[in-house]
């Protein structure tokens, strides 16, 4: 992401270095120099100079959102789908505070996004001026770093720093709050390039050779090792390196939710997802392991269950670029503080080739138990299960769609039944669990991957949180396919109420608008599915229809996600799908 001022994007002016520009123009020059070709935003008083200057930069497309939270998620979705830095822009005060949920979402999942907000004039700072909010204060704990710019002379270098910080080391959101008078003042444009001078910032730690060697010996000695693959694999682009390591060492791979796709689900060494709604055999394998090799993951409480009994027999090797994650929750035996791609390429030649048949056979044996509860043989009684919808969607899209999920039961079913073989083809809010994320994130992802078949998988509840962005999709002529898994409930909360709160459904039944008509009101296509037999034709129709399509899947209302490790329970203490004759299913290995 080094700035290359010599090559302006088509449409943008060719500004000579040293030219006198307004701060507002410098913002766009600086963004263009970073290679930015799309930003997501919403105008207002304190950012109006920038919006006015934007008209001179047609090489940068601006997507007008309907709520600034949408802009934040779009920039986030763009970044996750592309690996590049996403950009969102908003005005001061309410515009900036509306970004907050999106900033926190990007922070928790380490997504590189640069947020640009207008601020009241520097002369008004601290006076409680109209639409003044201390945005750098508000976002201090939810950004990797943030800046308040009061002087036009600092705009260009600050934006360069923001991009560098957002995308290097452990990525994350960076916010640049720019006073209105700084946007209006003029300064000579000097394109900043190269690595900014940040004396306190050291994004690239290196694990010493002797530690790699020690880790290699520990791997050689292990009899029951398991790899825990996190989002770090995808961020580092280390999928191929991981495959080479796995194929040499015979160590099976469990994935976190965000790690899905980093290692192909169809690979014989892939176990599947771990954690609260992970496959039973994956959690059991972790609990029985004698070595965990954690790669770019951070032992979130949703993947460890009760810490005191987590993987009690296992030594642990933690490969992680962020040193502060080491020993935060799980004490490890070896920490390799380094880029996971570099560690994998250095360690693979040092480890012994093995097949580990007894261990793999033992894990395979654990699967048998789950197969009892399989979807196979389930009579199609005219009911529609979410599991079926996701499984069919996977089959029809040949596992190649870019799927953006919201938060709730449907998110877990997607993770279980849509088998991801490719990196960056599952986008979901893992760390913050932000309902309303999916639709805007998918719109952003669409800009990053215009050739992809983009699917939103959202619940009836979460979809309504940001449904206003349907209007954005319509105005921008964006095609995404939206599968609403409509169970008439805030399903995940209902499930907890069923399991842990005596079945008292407090404020979880939800009445929704007619989603078909809602789509039509936006000039979009709405479809409805109530039977499994209709799934395939409807999915194909959606794919073939130009423009955004909303499908209202009326699924079984009180189905639950299984297995489930209750919050704070031992990872092996799973609530399992009741076995047949219960018509409900646990896995969807349905042909």
């Amino acid at each position: 992401m080094t700035a290359n001022p010599a090559a302006p994007l088509p449409g943008n002016p060719r500004t000579a270095p040293g030219a006198l520009l307004t701060g507002a123009e410098i913002i766009w020059e600086a963004l263009a120099a970073e290679g930015v070709d799309v930003v997501f935003g919403y105008p207002g008083g304190a950012i109006m100079p920038a919006y006015d200057a934007m008209l001179k930069y047609p090489g940068i497309r601006h997507v007008l959102v309907r709520h600034e939270q949408g802009a934040a998620h779009m920039a986030d979705g763009y970044a996750r789908a592309s690996g590049r830095v996403g950009v969102a822009i908003a005005t001061s005060g309410p515009g900036a505070t509306n970004l907050v949920t999106g900033i926190a979402t990007a922070m928790m999942d380490s997504v590189p996004v640069v947020f640009i907000t207008g601020q009241v004039s520097s002369t008004l700072l601290g006076t409680d001026g109209f639409q003044e909010t201390d945005v750098t204060g508000v976002t201090l704990p939810i950004t990797k770093h943030n800046y308040l710019v009061t002087d036009v002379a600092d705009i260009a270098s600050t934006i360069r720093e923001a991009f560098f910080l957002a995308s290097s080391g452990r990525p994350g959101p960076v916010l640049v709050d720019i006073c209105k008078d700084a946007q209006q003042a003029t300064a000579p444009w000097h394109p900043p390039h190269g690595t900014p001078r940040l004396p306190g910032y050291r994004p690239e730690p290196h694990a010493p050779d002797e530690m790699l060697e020690r880790a290699a010996r520990m791997i050689d000695q292990a009899e029951r090792p398991v790899i825990l693959a996190g989002y770090g694999i995808i961020k580092a682009g280390a999928g191929e390196l991981l495959r080479a390591f796995v194929e040499k060492t015979g160590v099976p791979v469990a994935s976190t939710l965000l790690g899905l796709g980093g290692f192909a689900a169809s690979h014989p060494m892939s176990l599947g997802m771990m954690g609260m709604h992970g496959e039973a055999w994956v959690n059991n394998a972790i609990q029985e392991a004698d070595l965990l090799i954690a790669l770019g993951m951070r032992f979130d409480d949703r993947v460890t269950g009760r810490l005191a009994t987590y993987a009690p027999r296992a030594r642990k090797i933690h490969v992680e670029v962020d040193r502060s994650e080491i020993n935060k929750l799980v004490k490890v035996d070896i920490a390799l503080i380094d880029d996971v791609a570099r560690v994998l390429s250095a360690i693979t030649p040092r480890v012994q080739a093995k097949t580990r048949e007894p261990w793999l056979a033992r894990i395979a044996g654990m699967k048998g138990d789950s197969a009892v509860r399989d979807i196979q043989g389930l009579p199609d009684e005219g009911r529609l299960y979410a599991a079926h919808v996701l499984h069919d969607l996977w089959r029809i899209t040949e596992g190649k769609a870019l799927v953006v999920t919201d938060v709730g039961q449907h998110q877990m079913w997607e993770a279980q039944y849509y088998k991801h073989d490719y990196a960056r083809k599952l986008i979901t809010s893992g760390g913050l669990g932000t309902m309303g994320f999916a639709l805007p994130a998918a719109i952003g992802a669409r800009f990053a991957q215009p050739g992809d078949d983009v699917w939103v998988v959202a619940g009836d509840g979460g979809f309504q949180m940001t449904a206003c962005e349907l209007s954005t999709a319509a105005q921008e002529g964006i095609k995404v396919n939206i599968a609403i898994i409509n169970n008439g409930y805030l399903g995940m909360v209902r499930q907890w109420q069923q399991f842990f709160y005596g079945g008292r459904y407090s404020s979880t039944p939800m009445r929704s608008p007619d989603f078909v008509k809602l789509a039509e009101a936006h000039g979009l296509t709405g479809l409805r599915v109530t039977q499994r037999s209709e799934v395939e034709a409807t999915v194909r129709l959606a794919q073939a229809t130009p423009g955004t399509v909303v499908i209202d899947f009326r699924v079984e209302q009180e189905d639950s996600v299984y297995p489930m490790v209750p919050s704070g329970a031992d990872l092996a203490e799973m609530i399992r799908r009741p076995p047949p004759p219960s018509p409900l299913v646990e896995t969807a290995e349905d042909p």
Binding site: G137, L198, P199, G200, P208, R315, R323, S324, A335, I337
Partner: protein, 201 residues
């Protein structure tokens, strides 16, 4: 009690050099508040180098927490370097001003105590004495404790400042100091905390 204070916790002193930029103190305070780390005292001041401030933090933490506090401090872009004085011989000093009720009768005794602690009287009127004392944190604690026998009317302590002993600078040299995932931070515990027990297949 903070979740980070355990039986093996002890008081330790960290020195951090930071860029003298707006909001740096807020970032550090926010970090400690958010992660639930305990700060006993914090002092900030300029250094000989323009644009660089120095903070001395007295914290309660066990070794592991201290290492993570250090790592989290390093994550702040404006923090230049951090030294945990638990790993160094160091001089610690704190300054206190203590105003004690001391009339004609009690004054000689208060003055005697001040003398024993090598403290100075910096102000006095008919009913009070104000004592200035410089010493380690514990020495000041001792003086305050003894003066507690009289009525302490006002007390201010500067918080600890500290410096490594001998020729060693408290400011690690660039390049050699990189918070080094190259040495002890890349941890290895040869004795695993968990024992590897076989599973019968």
């Amino acid at each position: 009690m903070s979740p980070h204070v355990s039986a093996s916790s002890r008081t330790r002193t960290l020195i951090a050099h930071v860029e003298d930029k707006p909001g740096v103190l807020a970032r550090i305070a926010s970090l400690f508040r958010r992660r639930g780390y305990n700060i006993q005292s914090l002092t900030v001041g300029r250094t000989a180098e323009p644009g660089v401030s120095r903070m001395t933090l007295m914290i309660d933490a066990d070794d592991d927490t201290a290492r993570r506090i250090e790592a989290n401090l390093y994550k702040l872009v404006n923090v230049l370097d951090v030294v945990d004085l638990a790993d160094h011989a160091a001089v610690n000093r704190e300054l206190a001003l203590i105003k004690v009720k001391a009339d004609v009768d009690t004054r000689p005794r208060v003055l005697q105590i001040a003398d024993v602690f090598h403290a100075r009287v910096v102000d006095m009127d008919r009913e009070t004495l104000t004592i200035e004392s410089t010493g380690t944190h514990d020495q000041i604690d001792g003086l305050v404790d003894v003066l507690g026998a009289f009525e302490v009317l006002d007390l201010v302590r500067s918080g600890v400042i500290a410096m490594t002993r001998g020729r060693e600078s408290s400011r690690p040299q660039p390049n050699t100091h990189v918070p080094s995932p190259t040495s002890e931070e890349q941890q290895s515990w040869p004795e695993s905390s968990t024992t590897a027990t076989p599973i019968s297949a």
